[in-house]
């Protein structure tokens, strides 16, 4: 028998507070538990890629659009940060708003074809963008450093007052992790706000039945463009965060297979909920670093980069997830969680303000006083109600 908690109740608020506190403690404490710089850096990468995957969740999971162009946005963000820091001496954090603005604009531009085309055709257009990006990097060599890449001499420094001592061995990477995690948390809050607003709901509506969404007053074209722009901006932020973690940009860092691996991570992590971005990012980074290292060390693969093995493992993982956990890790966890705790929704307190009376409909006594609870999964209520 699962525990039932009503949304908005004291217990619900306490639970949320506890969860938020737990997450904060985890984020603050985790890097100190890890011993090495590379482990902390891995954590930073997970935080950064979770922002990128979150952008994909909004665009593909909620709005139902396909995009393979995400690597280009991560690249745009990365180059923006590295160029501004290396050539113009900007502080790292100040480059993030610039990445956002650039990627919002480019994202909106890429959204325009999506007003006309769908599915495979849209995939092809966005794939072309992803394929074009490294070529553009080489074309604009003076700006980007071309094939030799672009580096910022100095990694991000913590201000004097910062509470982590940067003069220890893992200090600098812990500082960078905190910064990256803080920005990531902000981005998650932004995403939550979008998805809870009428715009978030209209994304789902236009994904599932665009005609009736339009008939309900949803400006379908604008919402689609917005989803592309926001998703691009999240990709840009992720690129900037990755550049904070490792201040270099090169054409080989932002290729099409980055987009494809992100898609695998999206499906595996779960695209139905915002929080799917976290398992998604963990899976992504695990595949790209650990499995890749392991594969490269396999006998017979010495010297190769292990790319094929990672590809094969990703494919197998994708197949396994599609069959075993079609809603991804996050979806599976949610389902398991519902066995423990179920959230119920209270009758909205002030609904009588908007009461439409059609007097032939008896007002059911069930909600007299407005204190009753209409609970989410309640099969005994699912029959067509009978009326007198």
């Amino acid at each position: 028998m699962p525990l039932r908690i009503e949304r908005g109740s004291r217990r619900h608020r306490l639970l949320r507070l506890a969860l938020a506190g737990g997450a904060a403690v985890l984020l603050l404490g985790l890097p100190h538990l890890l011993g090495t710089v590379s482990q902390v850096d891995t954590l930073s990468q997970i935080a950064a890629y979770s922002v990128a995957i979150l952008g994909l969740i909004i665009l593909m999971g909620y709005c139902g659009q396909i995009s393979l162009a995400h690597s280009a946005f991560i690249g745009l963000g990365g180059y923006t940060t590295v160029i501004l820091v290396a050539d113009h001496d900007w502080p790292y954090l100040a480059t993030i708003p610039v990445s956002i603005v650039i990627c919002l604009a480019v994202g909106a531009l890429i959204g325009i074809p999506a007003l006309r085309i769908r599915g495979l055709y849209l995939a092809a257009v966005t794939l072309a963008v992803a394929a074009l990006f490294p070529a553009l990097v080489i074309r604009f060599e003076e700006l980007t450093g071309g094939t030799s890449g672009k580096f910022a001499r100095e990694a991000m420094q913590a201000p004097e007052w910062f509470f982590v001592n940067p003069y220890t061995r893992v200090g600098p990477s812990i500082v960078r992790f905190y910064v990256i995690a803080a920005v990531a948390v902000l981005v998650f809050l932004v995403a939550r706000s979008i998805l809870r607003s009428r715009i978030g709901r209209s994304m789902v509506a236009l994904r599932e039945a665009p005609l009736s969404a339009a008939a309900s007053g949803v400006q379908v074209a604008r919402v689609k463009i917005f989803a592309f722009a926001i998703s691009g901006a999240f990709g840009g932020v992720a690129g900037s965060l990755l550049a904070i973690q490792l201040p270099q940009a090169s054409d080989t860092r932002y290729t099409l297979d980055l987009s494809i691996f992100l898609l695998v991570a999206l499906v595996a992590g779960g695209s139905g909920t915002m929080l799917g971005a976290i398992p998604g990012a963990i899976i992504f980074v695990t595949l790209r670093t650990f499995v890749s290292d392991w594969a490269a060390a396999l006998p017979g693969f010495q010297g190769s980069d292990g790319g094929q093995i990672v590809g094969i493992i990703s494919c197998l993982l994708l197949l396994a997830i599609v069959f075993l956990m079609p809603t991804g890790v996050a979806g599976g966890l949610q389902k398991a969680g519902r066995r423990l705790v179920q959230f119920t929704d209270p009758v909205p307190a002030g609904w009588r303000r908007f009461q439409l009376s059609a007097s032939s409909q008896p007002t059911p006594s069930a909600d007299a006083g407005g204190s009753q609870t209409a609970s989410s999964p309640q099969p005994e209520n699912s029959g067509a109600p009978t009326k007198g």
Binding site: R198, I199, D345, V347, S360, Q361, S382
Partner: protein, 282 residues
């Protein structure tokens, strides 16, 4: 009733104007919707040819005709989901052909779909809240920062709950649509259309697939909407008994053309109606 008057306001309501000129044949009541000379083609298929109809304020106008007559196409033209090649559509003096699909809710027009067009990924109440989309104000700039999202969410939830209450399905408000019986889903769709407090409600075969008891309830409800809330209805329906019971005026289409029109008692026994539905006796 007092609660209705207080809250029965739309955000945008164009000023009342005279009925469009040249709309003859309206014995009483102000004309709310006027469709004139509507022609719609899909490639080579002419779905509608020179179709005219009008809905008077506070009346139920039924649009009937055999399968493929073009009823849904007429609906889609009014909803701006289909672009006619000729004709005029006026709603309360406004030229609808210059409006976009997304504008209609704010003008005071809502509709349902012949094949339920709900969003199964949303809960029942969320479906209705999207129906109330045009009442919200959160913009693309505000949404990321959460400006006004909370209070708007609360208000839309309340409005949606109230609309569900009209249809007596508030019990299932927070359930997903998936798995609910068909009759309930039809009501969800009606609630989604009602939540904006439209002046014109367009229903495409609302009785299709309903049990006899549900059809009776539907008739009662539609009458109540007309009589108590002053709604005007345009109703596409194959259920003849329902049409004859509640319609004030009936327009019959056949093969994309106006066949005849009149009050239910005027057309009920017209041989042309029987012929259109059953085919010519020869």
């Amino acid at each position: 009733m007092s609660g209705i008057k207080r809250s029965f306001t739309l955000k945008t309501r164009p000023p009342d104007t005279d009925p469009a000129p040249g709309t003859a044949g309206s014995p009483s009541g102000e004309t709310l919707l006027t469709v004139r000379g509507l022609t719609v083609r899909f490639g080579g298929v002419t779905a509608l040819e020179d179709v005219s109809l009008q809905v008077r304020s506070g009346e139920i106008c039924a649009l009937i005709g055999p399968n493929g007559a073009g009823k849904t196409t007429a609906f889609n033209s009014v909803s701006r989901l289909v672009q006619p090649v000729a004709g005029a559509i006026a709603f309360d003096g406004a030229d609808l052909l210059r409006a976009r699909a997304g504008d209609l809710a704010a003008l005071g027009i809502a509709r349902t779909f012949q094949n339920l067009a709900l969003w199964p990924g949303l809960t029942v109440i969320e479906n209705v809240m999207v129906g109330a989309h045009s009442l919200g104000r959160t913009g693309f700039l505000g949404a990321p920062f959460g400006w006004g999202v909370r209070s708007e969410h609360r208000e839309l939830t309340e409005r949606a709950y109230a609309a569900l209450a009209v249809l007596a399905i508030q019990d299932v408000a927070f359930q997903p649509c998936q798995g609910l019986p068909f009759g309930t889903l039809r009501r969800v769709e009606l609630a989604r259309a009602l939540v904006t407090r439209p002046r014109l409600l367009m229903l495409d075969e609302p009785a299709a697939g309903l049990t006899q008891g549900d059809v009776r309830d539907l008739g009662t409800l539609l009458r109540a909407l007309r009589d108590e809330l002053g709604l005007s209805l345009l109703l596409v329906e194959h259920h003849m008994q329902l049409v004859m019971d509640i319609a004030d005026y009936v327009v019959v289409l056949d093969s994309g053309r106006n066949l005849l029109s009149g009050r239910p008692d005027e057309i009920r026994d017209d041989p042309r109606l029987v012929e259109a539905y059953l085919g010519s006796p020869r």
